[in-house]
Every structure is written in C-alpha cells, then in structure tokens.
C-alpha cells in the first residue's frame, strides 16, 4: 500500500479535513461564468411573468381592466385575484401564522404590492402589458408610524381580520396590533429598577433595511400536464419547506412537487420567505401549460420582498454605583408592515430577541415586544443574523454604552465587570436561554491588547484637546462590542416553522471505490457548503474531501431539512453530517474486524483506517473497507455503506466575539473614515479558516452598510424613498476598510464536532461596533443616542445639534 509510506501528518493533510483552508470546489464553475442561477434557466416554450404593482401604500382597488394588456402581441394571460380565488390561492399563509394577499384582493396595503400578474412570451412584451393594465384605486389614509397605528381613530389596515381579538400569537388589543410577546419577570424587574443606584434609559431604534443580495428573487415553475408533476426552481433558502407549503396551499400532492434551489446569488435572509411571485409562476404554469419564469427587478426586490429590522426598543438598564448591572427592561415596538410575514420559529414571534441580555450576567430582566401593522412591505427577516438577534445585540450594546456614560465609566471596563464568567457556563439567562459555552474575559483581553486599547484612548484624549484648540476638525471614535449570538435553530421541542421541526439532515453514500456523495437538507448561497461539509466527512471517515461530492437543494434527492438561514447549517446540518459519518464509521469498524479476523473492540480508528490495537501494521483503510462493503458477503451485515442522520440539536449554539472599530469623524462634512477594524470571533471548532475569514469580511461589510447608510425609508404617504441602488447604500471597495480577524476557540459542548456557526456573527457584532464608534466620537460633547444609519447628513446634524459648527 502506498500510504504505508506516508507519515500520519501527511495522511491527515491528504484528507483536507476539518481545520484545512481547503480551496472551494464551487469556484471552478463560478469563476468562468458557469454557475447555474434561476435566471439562467431556459426551458422550451418558457413564458415570462411580471407584476402590476400598487403605486399607493393604502388604497381600495375598485376595478382592474386587463383588456388593453391582453391585446399586446405575445401576452398570454393576465391574472388577478379574481382568477386565483376559485383555486383559493388569492391569499397564502405566511411563515408567521398570518396570511398575505398573493394578488390585491379588494385593497392594497403597501406601495409595490402585487396587483396583477402578466404572462407573456418574452419579458419585453410582459413589461409593455404591465403598463397597460388599468387599475382604478381609491386612496385611503396611510399609516407609516407604528406608534400612531394603535391610536383609537387609526385607520384599520387589515379589514380581513378586523374585530378579531385573538391572533396567531395570543390576544390582539387593536385592529392594527398583531401580538404581544413577553419574556422574563416584569414585576421583579420593575422592583430592581425602582431600587437601583443608577438607571439609564434610552430609546434605541434599529431602522428598517433590506438584505439586498446581488441576485434578486425569482422562480421558474413547470407543470407537466401529462404526469401532473410540478417542478419549481427558485431562490429558496429552504427548498423542502417551500415544497410543503406549495403542497398545502395548492392541493398538489407533495410527491408530485419537486423543488430545486439551483445556485443562489446570496440570500442573507431575503430568500427564506414565500413570495407572491412564486405562487403566481406556479398558477400561470398550470393555467398556460407552459413553464413560467418570474424574476423580480431590483426595485421590486427592495420594495416588496423581505425587509429586516424596524424595531423601536425602549430600554432601561440599572446598576450599582460601582457598575454592576442589576436589571434590564426592554419594550419593543416592532413594525411588521402590512402582513406578518416574519420568518421566525412559531413560538418566537419576535425571534430570539430575548437574547438581549447579551454577554452579561444580568440577574433580572423583562422583555415585551408588540408587533404592529403599518402600510409598509411585509418581511421582518433575519438579515444575516439569527432571528432578531442583531436587534437584540444592538440594543444591549447601546444600552451598555449609555450606562457607561451615566456612570462616567470606561465602557470596556463596564463590560468586563459584567461578563458572564467562564465557570458560570452552562449559563441560564434571566430571559430563558441556556448559554452552552463561553470565555468572554479571555476574548476581551486579547482584543483590547491587540488594538492597544490604552494607547487608543490616550490618542483620543489628545485629539480632543487638539479639536478644542482648533487644530483639527476630526474627532476620533473607538467602538466596542462584545456580542453573544444564539444560532442553530433548533431543538424540535421548541422550534418549528409551520409545524415542521427545525432539525436538519444528511445522507452519505460511500461508493465501492472509496469516493462518496453526501446530500443535505440545507442549501448554500455562497457559504461554500460543498467545500466545508465534505471536510467534516473527510475528518470523520478518513476519505479525502476531494473524493466527496456534495449535493443540496433538490427535494427529490436530498433528505428533508429546514434549510439555510440563522447560521443553522453548521450547527444543525453540520452535526447531522458528523452523525451520519459516524454511523458509517461504526459499520466500517465491523467490516474491518471481519476482514482482519479480530473482534470489533480490538480495533482503533487512526485517521483514515482501522488498525488492530497494539499492532498498527495490521489495518484496513477506509477505501479497502468501502470495497469490501460491496464485494464480500459478511455474516450478520447488510451489504453497502450508506447512512442518513436527522439531527435534532439538544440546544442552540452561542458563538460570541469581541470587535473594536476605530474611526475618524469629520464634524464639518459628517464624513466617517474607518481607520481600523479588529474582529475576534469564537465560533467553536473551526472547519475551514479561509471560509470563516471570508464570512467575517462579508458580514462586517454588510454591518458597515447598515450602520452607515443603508435603509428602507418611507415618506408619510408610504412611498419608498430608497428603492434603487442609487439611494439604497451598498458599500463599494472604496468605502470598505480592511479588517483584521482573530479568534479564540471555545467548542460547543453539545455539538458533535463542537462547531457553533459563524456566518452571521460579524453582522450581529459589526453593527453595534460601527455605531458605537460614531457615538463614542461625540461622547465628550454629551451625545447619548443618535439613530442609525450614520450617513454623512445625520452625522453632520449630530455635530450641528451638539454645537460643534461654531
């Protein structure tokens, strides 16, 4: 055997398993333009669908005239709610227990809402016809402010549920009220606040924004009139869930639906929801008997599919004079738009907002979230974060800063004295979570030292003096954040979406020659699953990652899983992968024992083989075992070498990190220049350091966008003011800084390989870090809170209000 001559180190290296910075297998296709995204799909006779959308935020639809549109050459059909109603598809269930109009049914509730669906032979004819559909609207009063939505005389937005006092998540107290969700102990927290030495109070607003992946949402539906089988390609972060939902709402048996997520051009939460375009493409294919493609344009994407955030978080935090935090109170007003279409696990209508005690040992806390309807687009997705975790992290990391100001303390020290200590894990938080593991002090000290925190503060003090002396017009801001995430939803006992438990799955088949294929219930949108999951298998069963094909996204072949979002792929599907691999290894051990004529227990696993204990020269490699599994009749064992695992995680995982940002603020122009950004992440066991680093760069850049300029803004008429990339800020290479990445490793004790997930940490931690840095620059002048995004105009206004313009 050739590998008898290899050292153990060489054998490990050959596997390219966990810990290896393995190059991505996906890239060979992508770099030469051979990806296969939804809009690349072209089928014979395929038609194009396009929407007529509402120009109004709130209006009654009095009539729709499609005659002129139908007369456009190439137009095949124009669907309205009246056409969908007989099929009972004019409304659809949302993932949050509400329902949503597929096409306007009597009224429209947000600008850009879908009113009619034009189907034509090419996209140009469809666009022409969209212009010719005549809709007669009667404008209604518009509500864009969630605080006005609950006034007694507020217009009723959702007439379909008017008067219903019970919603999907408990009582509703007003026609525009969706739910109230509470965690923690209200009375005890009130008592703590009443008795506290110090209480800091602040309204922290996390503005409405949008994930805006570079590829918009789209689908291609093809109903085969002969077999009755529907194939649906689409930008789906959760293909199996889409299949189940499609079956439930269309009445097509689930085995007659095949959902395929091809390559996805970024998701970030945007592609979790089910959108009217998907439903309309299916109906149009059934009606016309031809495949129908729908792909939204950028403006439609920003206006109608899946906003994120829009949380008004009123907070109180109490502490002793020495800075020991005693209590936290948060009341959130959550603007959900026209339909409650948040993609949260059923029992968590405000996601995991109750992680808002953050990294701190806060003995008493209370959280209440009120969901409110307004005339804005539905959504409320987890934009590169686990459900509402970035809102929670922003809230607590701002409240810590506000408290530090009140106590006149250094914010780094205030954090340190309040961190949950290493020996307190597993830690039960006041709002009901069991944090699995952490070592916050070590991470924090490492971070402060890496950036020379003391030196920075000295420099900042000097800068302030120079500023006051008129020598400079730039202030220095030092932004700190220590975040704790909660990802990997999740345990089936408390996490489901539409009743489906949030487990995930992996199936592995070893081929006779010792290569393999693995299929998962998740779907990559750029995270590099084909690369990293093969690495997990390689380390577990000792076959080279390069010999393992990975497939995801085809519901006809992949095992059922709940998809990729909320950083759940590594914690859940990654665990399933390891467990499936271990089942294979267990069987391989029996085969090896038979081949070596020893007892199972006399063997030990050694990188890529089973060897006889005490006689390492007697072994069978995994490759040899694979062959034997198919060509030997082994008594008591079935032939073949395959396994499947459905993994129901016992707990969430809790990645954490320490971030520090240094920036210059020009008080006269409001311009902010990021000087450095240091990001220490602890995501437990690291599978591929190259990919982790890439995820951190990407997440930080999305955080930069959100904190510094990106928003979905409405005027009082409900018009979207930021519907194109001209107004909606996406940083270019010029605005984006270089990042310094670092790590500590605190494995998850309950995860088979100790991995916690990382894709979303940088967004969760990055947003407060950038924002805190801007605030910090103005702290000496009395600023406690200014709302994001900190674009030039807002920063200039802040400086102006503080009297810094002389």
């Amino acid at each position: 055997m050739t590998d008898q001559t290899l050292t153990p180190e060489q054998r490990v290296a050959n596997l390219k398993g966990m810990g290896s910075a393995r190059k991505r297998v996906e890239d060979v296709r992508f770099t030469q333009g051979k990806g296969n995204y939804v809009d690349d799909i072209k089928l014979d006779g395929m038609l194009f669908g396009d929407f007529v959308r509402s120009p109004y935020a709130h209006a009654r639809v009095k009539s729709i005239d499609t005659e002129a549109a139908m007369a456009v050459p190439g137009v095949v059909a124009v669907l309205t709610a009246a056409d969908l109603e007989p099929l009972n598809l004019h409304w659809m269930p949302t993932l949050a227990g509400d329902k949503q109009m597929v096409l306007a049914d009597g009224k429209v509730l947000f600008q850009g809402q879908e009113v009619a669906f034009v189907v034509a032979e090419d996209r140009y004819a469809a666009a022409d016809a969209v212009e010719l559909v005549e809709v007669d609207y009667e404008e209604l009063p518009v509500l864009v402010d969630p605080f006005k939505a609950e006034l007694p005389d507020a217009p009723v937005l959702r007439e379909d549920i008017a008067g219903q006092t019970e919603g999907a998540h408990g009582p509703r107290r007003h026609d525009n009220h969706i739910f109230t969700w509470e965690a923690g102990d209200k009375d005890a927290t009130q008592a703590v606040l009443d008795e506290a030495d110090v209480v800091a109070e602040e309204m922290v607003y996390y503005h409405r924004t949008h994930p805006c992946p570079l590829e918009t949402c789209g689908s291609v539906a093809s109903m085969d009139p002969v077999t009755g089988k529907l194939t649906l390609w689409g930008t789906f972060q959760a293909p199996h869930a889409v299949r189940t939902v499609a079956s439930l709402i269309s009445g097509i048996a689930e085995h007659n639906i095949r959902v395929i997520s091809p390559d996805i051009g970024g998701g970030f939460g945007n592609k979790v929801g089910v959108y009217p375009g998907y439903v309309c493409s299916i109906v149009a294919s059934i009606v016309t008997g031809k495949p129908v493609k729908w792909v939204e344009d950028r403006m439609e994407n920003l206006m109608s599919t899946a906003f994120a955030r829009d949380y008004w978080m009123a907070g109180k935090i109490s502490a002793t004079k020495e800075g020991k935090i005693t209590g936290l109170w948060c009341h959130t007003t959550a603007d959900h738009g026209a339909f409650d279409a948040c993609a949260d696990p059923t029992k968590f209508p405000a996601g995991f907002m109750n992680i808002c005690t953050g990294s701190y040992d806060i003995p008493t806390a209370y959280l209440a979230v009120d969901g409110i309807y307004t005339n804005k687009a539905p959504g409320g997705v987890a934009y590169r974060c686990s459900f509402r975790v970035t809102e929670a992290a922003y809230f607590i990391e701002r409240m810590i800063e506000v408290l530090a100001i009140k106590l006149n303390m250094d914010a780094a020290e205030l954090r340190r004295i309040n961190f949950i200590k290493k020996e307190q894990f597993p830690y039960n938080s006041a709002l009901g979570w069991e944090y699995d593991s952490g070592d916050y002090h070590t991470a924090w000290d490492k971070a402060l030292e890496a950036v020379d925190y003391k030196g920075l503060r000295a420099e900042q003090a000097q800068r302030l003096e120079d500023f006051k002396a008129g020598k400079t017009r730039k202030l220095l801001g030092i932004g700190l954040t220590h975040f704790t995430e909660i990802v990997g939803a999740g345990p089936v006992k408390n996490c489901d979406i539409l009743g489906m438990g949030m487990f995930d799955s992996c199936e592995i088949r070893i081929h006779p020659t010792g290569s393999a294929i693995a299929r998962l219930g998740t779907i990559s949108q750029g995270q590099g699953h084909a690369t990293t999951f093969a690495q997990i298998i390689a380390s577990e069963i000792g076959l080279p990652a390069d010999d393992i094909t990975l497939e995801e996204g085809d519901t006809d072949t992949a095992p059922y899983g709940l998809g990729t979002y909320g950083s759940r792929s590594t914690p859940v599907a990654g665990a399933a992968t390891a467990m499936a691999a271990r089942k294979i290894r267990a069987k391989a051990q029996m085969i090896a024992a038979y081949l070596l004529e020893v007892h199972d227990n006399d063997l030990e696993w050694d990188i890529d083989r089973f060897a006889v204990k005490g006689a390492p020269e007697r072994f069978k490699t995994m490759k040899e075992i694979a062959f034997a599994a198919y060509n030997q009749a082994i008594p008591g064992l079935e032939p073949g070498l395959e396994a499947v695992s459905y993994y129901d995680p016992p707990n969430m995982t809790y990645p954490f990190g320490a971030y520090i940002c240094v920036l210059d603020v020009d008080v006269d122009t409001g311009e902010v220049d990021i000087r450095s950004f240091y990001a220490l992440d602890d995501c437990g066991t690291r599978i591929n350091p190259m990919i982790i680093e890439g995820q951190v760069h990407g997440g930080l850049t999305e955080a930069l966008a959100i904190a510094m300029g990106q928003e979905i803004a409405y005027d009082e008429m409900g018009n979207v003011k930021t519907g194109t990339l001209m107004d909606f800020f996406l940083p270019t290479a010029v605005e984006t800084p270089n990042y310094t990445t670092d790590h500590t490793t605190t494995p998850s004790p309950h995860h088979p390989i100790g991995a916690k997930g990382v894709g979303e940490s940088p967004n969760v931690g990055g947003v407060p870090c950038f924002s805190n840095a801007v605030h910090d620059a103005f702290r000496p002048f009395g600023l406690t809170q200014s709302h994001m995004p900190h674009d030039h105009w807002r920063v200039w206004q802040t400086a102006n209000k503080l009297g810094l313009h002389g």
Binding site: G35, D39, L730, T732, T736
Partner: protein, 164 residues
Amino acid sequence: MAKQHVKMTVNGKEVEALADPRTLLIHFLREDLKITGPHIGCETSHCGACTVDIDGKSVKSCTMFVGQAHGADITTVEGLVNADGSLGVIQEMFREHHGLQCGYCTPGMITRAHRLLQENPTPTEEDIRFGMAGNLCRCTGYQNIVKAVAHAADALNAQKEAAE
C-alpha cells in the same frame, strides 16, 4: 417591431442575428446567445454584475442596446479561460484567494479586473479599490477580491517577463 440585423464578435466567435432594436445587450447575450456568465443585479448601471469588455473598455451591458454593439468585439468572463479550457490567471487568483462566495458578482468582477490590469498593470491597493468600485459584491467585503487582483497583477507581470 422591425428586427434589426446585428453582427459582432463574442469571445472570438462571429455572431450574427436579428434582434428587436430595444433588446438590451445583456438580454441578447444571456437569452439569445446563452452566454449566462454576465448577470443582472440591478439593470440601472450600479452593480456591475453585467460587466463585459467591449472594444477594450469595461461596459455595463444592462444599459446598452444590442444595436449599439454592432460591429463590436466583446469578451465575457467565459472568454477569459485559457485556450486549453483551464482557468485564466485572474480566475485562478480569485479561487486561490477566496475572492468569491455566492459567485454572482464574480463574472463582472473578473471581467473588470481583466481590463483594469491592462489599463494599469501595476496597481496599488488604492488603484484596485478605485478601479473596481463600479462592481458591487454583497458577500466578500472586497478584501479578498483586492488581494486576488493584486496577485493576478503580479502573476501576469511575471508571465510577461518570462515571455520577454
């Protein structure tokens, strides 16, 4: 609408077709020629996903009619592979330095980098960042794209030197 006769060279091949005059070049490439490397991210000239090389310039093909490319010499990302089908230098460097994640911006990025490195074979980091600013990426945070382009510059210069 009367069709318009168009003729151009795409990735070294002559193509000729009758096209609706208002057809955008990106749609002509993607739907008529089935060259789906260039992508659509905005159709408003902001994102650069549709970037192709036309007569020695980087052009956003979503804001150009097919007729305006009549007689042009066009290169897309598909045309940047080596003659033997292996990845070209810039493509290889993007892979080597993890300059892509979802891959959606990548064809535009690589096509732009190809032109940038001819305009400026020895760019500084700032030159690269400025020169690539017409191409948006939502996944990578650019750091590794900049690295990939810088390494591609070195590799191309070394190739040139070796040839001289």
